[in-house]
């Protein structure tokens, strides 16, 4: 069995990736012009969007993809997971050469538990077989270990401030998920939305008080990327009206959408909805929705 890997670098394609896909008589991905899948998919400019889309998930019975080659870092991920999204944003923002292995979260490969004791994502694995998990820890690790633009502030007090800000955000992931589940199951979620609006109100106040566009100042930084995945999902979760009373936050959302890393990883709304439909029907194929490769 051959593995699915999509490879991306900030400077475009480097070397032939490896492999054919399962069951496919397609050529190797990424070598321009030879891929038998959608026309134009392997052009360098489209490679930037392949990393988060192209890989089919690995599930039970799959073969472990082998060690990570030197010069690359691997992320175990899932295209629609907001926590993994954080780490993929940092990889992108810092231009870190990486490969994405998507995991079927409803049907996890047995070998995956050697990467994380509870089989969670995201997990980073490097060529030294070092594993890093917990999305925030993974993001901080990448900023620490890799050169280029530092996403965390240099000043220790500013660093501490960003960590305290993250604490203010801690209820948001749970609340947005509860709203989504409630709505999908035909239940009311007015109370939940009220609490969510309050949490957003706190964040809005901070932006107002700081009088800055982003949470870390006038430039995008780590804290903005750590928040973003849940705001991207407001629309597709059906709770975009939770930011109607938070103008500074709405401005922040618009500013974030201009960021190249955010843009590059923006998930198509229809594909996301397709995923959600299948996910709530407990279809294990949900995680590969929208992939033609």
């Amino acid at each position: 069995m051959l593995r699915d890997v999509s490879l991306v670098t900030s400077s475009g394609w480097v070397g032939p990736a490896s492999v054919a896909f399962e069951g496919g008589a397609r050529g190797s991905i990424g070598v321009p012009g030879t891929c038998g899948c959608r026309v134009g998919r392997c052009e360098l400019s489209n490679l930037e969007t392949m990393a988060n889309e192209a890989s089919k998930t690995l599930g039970k019975g799959s073969v472990y993809p082998g060690p990570v080659p030197e010069g690359l870092i691997r992320i175990y991920s899932m295209r629609f997971c907001p926590y993994a999204h954080r780490t993929r944003l940092i990889l992108r923002a810092k231009g870190i050469r990486h490969e994405v292995i998507n995991i079927n979260l409803r049907n996890k490969p047995e070998w995956y538990y050697t990467k994380h004791p509870f089989g969670q994502i995201p997990v980073l694995e490097n060529s030294k077989c070092q594993l890093i998990y917990e999305s925030v820890i993974a993001c901080e690790y990448l900023d620490d270990a890799y050169p280029g633009k530092k996403l965390c502030p240099y000043d220790p007090y500013e660093r501490a401030r960003q960590k305290m800000l993250l604490d203010l955000f801690y209820k948001v992931p749970h609340l947005t998920k509860e709203c989504l589940v409630a709505m999908r199951c035909g239940r009311e979620c007015t109370d939940l939305k009220l609490v969510l609006r309050q949490e957003f109100g706190k964040l809005d106040e901070i932006l107002g008080y700081q009088n800055t566009i982003f949470f870390g100042g006038d430039c995008i930084s780590m804290i903005d990327y750590l928040f973003w995945p849940w705001f991207e999902r407001l629309d597709v979760y059906g709770i975009a009206d939770c930011v109607t009373h938070t103008p500074a936050l709405r401005l922040w959302i618009e500013a974030m959408k201009q960021d190249p890393a955010v843009c590059a990883l923006l998930i198509d709304k229809n594909i996301f909805l397709g995923f959600l439909n299948l996910y709530f029907q407990n279809d294990p194929g949900a995680f590969d929705y929208g992939l033609s490769c």
């Binding site: 890093i132 917990e134 820890i137 690790y141 270990a145 660093r159 960590k163 305290m164 604490d167």
Partner: protein
């Protein structure tokens, strides 16, 4: 430098003045394990500091200006910078002050410490279910219980106020027939501990 033996400030007290240059202030409470983390790092790095103890049962109104959550520990410096959350205060001190670095420099080693800390915090906060293994008592609860049972004997139960889920779990555990059948008597345990710490050879038979 006022040490940890100062009486706590409570409701109605005047807010303390600004922090002097060259000193960092920690708002603390003598028995709080979270605040102890910060005091350990201050001590380990030899950082000149002053301690203001807060009466956590009767908090001064001005304290919420230092930390909107009203919890200790909180750091305040002469520039009026405020840092709260015990782990954040500890990392801040390690970054700002010279001397021995307590966190490793290597990015991976640093990440490892954070991952271990996360696991430990999950035990402390037990976010999801009533018991550690789910909604009913199971092996993991029995494996963890003995350490928490001894908190009372060591006068540390005050600070599970920080961790309400843990407080609820301890109460639930005490109701379990197995746990209550084997429950340590606090006085006996303290008696044992006293002798044990003096290396008394009869310590283990205290109370018999």
């Amino acid at each position: 430098m006022s040490g940890g033996s100062a009486r706590s400030l409570e409701k109605g007290s005047a807010p303390p003045g600004p922090v002097l240059d060259g000193v960092i202030r920690v708002y603390s409470m003598r028995f709080c394990p979270f605040a102890e983390r910060t005091r350990l790092v201050l001590k380990a790095k030899g950082i000149p500091h002053e301690v203001i103890n807060i009466n956590l049962k009767n908090k001064p109104e001005w304290f919420f200006k230092k930390n909107p959550f009203g919890l200790v520990p909180v750091l305040e410096n002469s520039q009026g910078h405020l840092v709260y959350e015990s782990a954040i205060t500890c990392e801040y001190l390690d970054e700002v002050y010279p001397g021995k670095k307590l966190l490793p420099e290597d990015p991976y080693e640093k990440a490892c410490q954070k991952m271990t800390f996360e696991l430990f915090s999950k035990v402390l906060t037990n976010k999801k279910t009533t018991f550690f293994g789910g909604n009913s008592l199971s092996m993991i609860d029995y494996l963890i219980w003995p350490w928490f049972e001894r908190l009372e004997g060591l006068e540390l139960t005050e600070c599970v106020d920080h961790t309400p889920k843990l407080k609820l779990w301890m109460a639930a555990m005490r109701k379990d027939p197995t746990v209550s059948a084997l429950l340590l008597d606090v006085k006996t345990y303290r008696g044992f501990l006293d002798l044990y710490l003096q290396d008394n050879l009869q310590a283990c038979d205290y109370g018999l």
